[in-house]
Amino acid sequence: MELAAFLPALAGGALIGLSAALLVLATGRVAGISGITGSLLGPPDDDTGWRLAFLTGLLLAPLAVVALTGRIPPVTIAAPTGLLALAGFLVGLGTRIGSGCTSGHGVCGIARLSPRSLVATGLFMASAAATVYVIRHVIGA
């Protein structure tokens, strides 16, 4: 594969890392999307303000990208509606039970060499890959 195919992934990853670094350096908080989002669904507390601000920035990102590039990037979702609803529910419930997702465990947790995050990331990557294997190569959907 050519270098050009890798560059967006590397640059995008660097921006994600920069975001997490900026947040922890300036405010002392962890950029974990599931924790930020899930906590906002509970009673308000001292962290509600920055969490709302972070999510507002995140939700403005599509607008910024469309303004800068003039086009919507590819978003191809093949799963049927019922499966999407089930998947979304599992992602919401699972990330909160497991205390983090791809950002909180996968990026921030591994960046600080947390044993919990290393285990969590290994497990969700493995179960995601196993799920794709079953759907594509066992069921053959």
């Binding site: 195919a5 994600i16 972070f54 599509p62 799963a79 609803a85 205390s99 179960s127």
Partner: protein
């Protein structure tokens, strides 16, 4: 509102924006690409491994500097999780999350971003995800402890 709080919220907004632009630029917001990354037995597309490979060292510098400094630049205290135990909740929750991620190719950040693009299937996923998170709050958090105090268990990481 104190200046410090205003500054914290502005930085958080910028961090959220950077995060979202990073997700879009990296390709993490395209479920077809994510599923191709997870399909190790098929036509495996390893590109997305580079997202973590690039994000982690940059974030690591931030965490190391924050720890060395001992306190955030904008005041307050560092809230970095301290737990190290591997418990059943961590294992079970992560496995459940992986199943959902593998079914649709969306994890929480990309779900919110693609929903903000106004893409209908992403909205379905995201509403269900919020319902799953709310269910967690009902099952596990109701009256368990004062929120925002014991940061080790309920919050992200």
């Amino acid at each position: 509102m104190p200046q410090r709080i205003v500054s914290q919220r502005i930085v958080s907004l910028v961090a959220g924006l950077l995060f979202g632009v990073g997700l879009i630029l990296s390709g993490m917001t395209d479920p077809a690409k994510v599923l191709a990354f997870l399909d190790v037995a098929g036509r495996w597309d390893p590109t997305l491994a580079l997202v973590m490979a690039s994000a982690i060292p940059v974030a690591a510098v931030g965490f190391a500097l924050a720890r060395r400094r001992g306190a955030p630049l904008l005041g307050g205290s560092l809230r970095i999780p301290t737990r190290r135990d591997i418990d059943a909740r961590l294992i079970g929750g992560s496995l459940l999350f992986g199943v959902g991620w593998g079914l649709a190719g969306l994890c929480p950040g990309p779900a919110l971003v693609t929903a903000a693009f106004g893409i209908a299937p992403a909205l379905v996923f995201t509403v269900a995800m919020l319902a799953g998170m709310f269910t967690f709050n009902l099952l596990f958090e109701a009256g368990s402890r004062p929120r925002g105090v014991a940061k080790g268990s309920g919050t992200s990481c």
